[in-house]
């Protein structure tokens, strides 16, 4: 689905990514995490085709991103930026979602149907003015305009930054549903609780290199995580490691609570 072969990229200040090789499967949910300036955003921009690698190649569904036109790229790969205000450029939610569709050549009745369906899915009022909404609502408008194009790949760059828990969960629930229906999701995040709750695979980035890569449980409970990266594992994983024994492999709060409940029920039963 997504293949990066010997990818290198740098800005005027110097190289950011060197000789990166990565493959992401269709329908996967991958979280990319790491310290500030580790190259996470650069990597997802390379995947989306917004940046072109200086050497190597990035393939989306077998096509080199250099060969994809913006319109085709948007159909294939949606990108939700950390700051929704950079995406929003229309004065109503309806026009905002419609703008994305017009960019990929969908107009008229079909566009109208998609706009209404997308707005309904995200519980958005099509008549409201995007800039007068809260940050969470604006993020949802930006997400709606990305989802309207029905991309096969969805890239989220720190989608929950600055959002309260409720807004955060609402957005992540939508993303999880999309992933369950087959959309490939790549999410850059510093929020390890969110990563633990939703991602299936975790890639830890430092200095433009992958230092840890694997399924969520193995990476987040790996004791090396804190030593070799700027990432703090989720609280539940830290607690699990401290408690040791049967708790050592647990990495979400829900897992620890479930385990404790189960254990107390067993004790009560034995008593």
């Amino acid at each position: 689905m997504i293949e990066l072969s010997n990818v290198a990229f740098g800005y005027a200040e110097g190289p950011v990514i060197n000789n990166l090789n990565l493959q992401l499967e269709k329908g996967s949910f991958t979280a990319i995490t790491g310290g500030n300036g580790a190259g996470k955003t650069t990597m997802v921009k390379l995947i989306s085709g917004l940046l072109k690698p200086t050497s190597g190649c990035v393939r989306l569904c077998g096509t080199d991103t250099r060969e994809l036109k913006a319109k085709n790229r948007a159909k294939l790969c949606g990108f939700l930026f950390q700051n929704p205000d950079r995406q929003i450029c229309k004065t109503s939610v309806y026009d905002e979602i419609g703008f994305s569709l017009s960019c990929i050549g969908i107009a008229g009745g079909e566009a109208d149907k998609i706009i209404r369906e997308t707005a309904e899915m995200l519980e958005l009022d099509t008549k409201s003015e995007p800039f007068s909404l809260s940050k969470g609502e604006r993020q949802k408008v930006a997400l709606a305009s990305v989802l309207a194009a029905n991309p096969e790949i969805l890239i989220l760059d720190e989608p929950t930054t600055g959002l309260d828990y409720r807004e955060c969960m609402r957005i992540m629930k939508i993303v999880a549903d999309l992933n369950n229906s087959g959309t490939t999701v790549i999410m850059v995040s510093h929020d390890m609780e969110i990563v633990a709750d939703f991602a299936k695979r975790v890639i830890v980035f430092e200095g433009g290199k992958i230092i840890l890569d694997g399924d969520c449980r193995s990476v987040l409970t790996d004791e090396r995580l804190r030593c070799i990266s700027s990432v703090l594992p989720p609280q539940a994983a830290v607690l699990g490691q401290k408690l040791g024994g049967r708790f050592s492999g647990l990495f979400t709060t829900e897992e620890i609570i479930s385990d404790c409940i189960l254990q107390s029920q067993c004790r009560m039963h034995n008593a």
């Binding site: 917004l50 790229r73 948007a74 205000d85 950079r86 995406q87």
Partner: protein
Amino acid sequence: MKGLLEYCRGNSFLHSCNPLIKIAAAFIMCVGCFMCSSLIYVLCVIGITLIAGYSAGVGGKVLKIFTSLLKLGFILLLLQIFFISEGHVLISLPFGIRVTAEGLHFCVLLALRIAGATLPLALMLMVTKMSDISGALVKKLHVPYKYAFAITTALRFIPVFADEMNGIIEAQTARGVEFDTKNPIKKISLMLPLCVPLLVSSVKRIEDSSTSALLRGFSLRTYKSGVKTYPFHLRDAALLSVAAVTSACGLLIGILI
């Protein structure tokens, strides 16, 4: 123009001069370009500025600005050259359009003057910190801080907004907007909707900056505030002399020819 008007660290002769002297020297050089209609003189001013830029370690950036200004000058040249019909005819075109020697001289001079007058100011901004410009204006000239701050903030925001615009273009490209079209009219029509997010982010940023400044006692500042002093040295006199002599030459040549 991203990064071109930003301050570049250094400890060159120009970096160490007094900010006020640098402003004065840049303005004197600019005025010099308009006092003389000799192409060679204007080219000399551009040459001096480029040499000064290279001596301060920002020659590459000054050269980049020069080439951008030349492109702008070339557009102006094309817009004007066909409307000046006085003088010796060099090329005759259909519909009575003529290119004359005087017209060509005027247009080339205009294009070079734009470059010659802008480059010293751009160089001054690259070798002087914004805080030093406002500090020197307040300390030495007793300009009210709010005005000095407004001037320097306006300049400081140019690269910030350029950066923001790049981010917006990137976000819109991700949605499928084809900015790499070669049709300039189509490109303008694609860029116009981007004014909305840029305006919104600019207003928010300015609001945040003003609140932050007020909270840090912006309104309490007087010309006595501030730690830095801006004394004048011999090197400042040298810089001012070079600028003054260059402009005086321009004035002299202007009178003689």
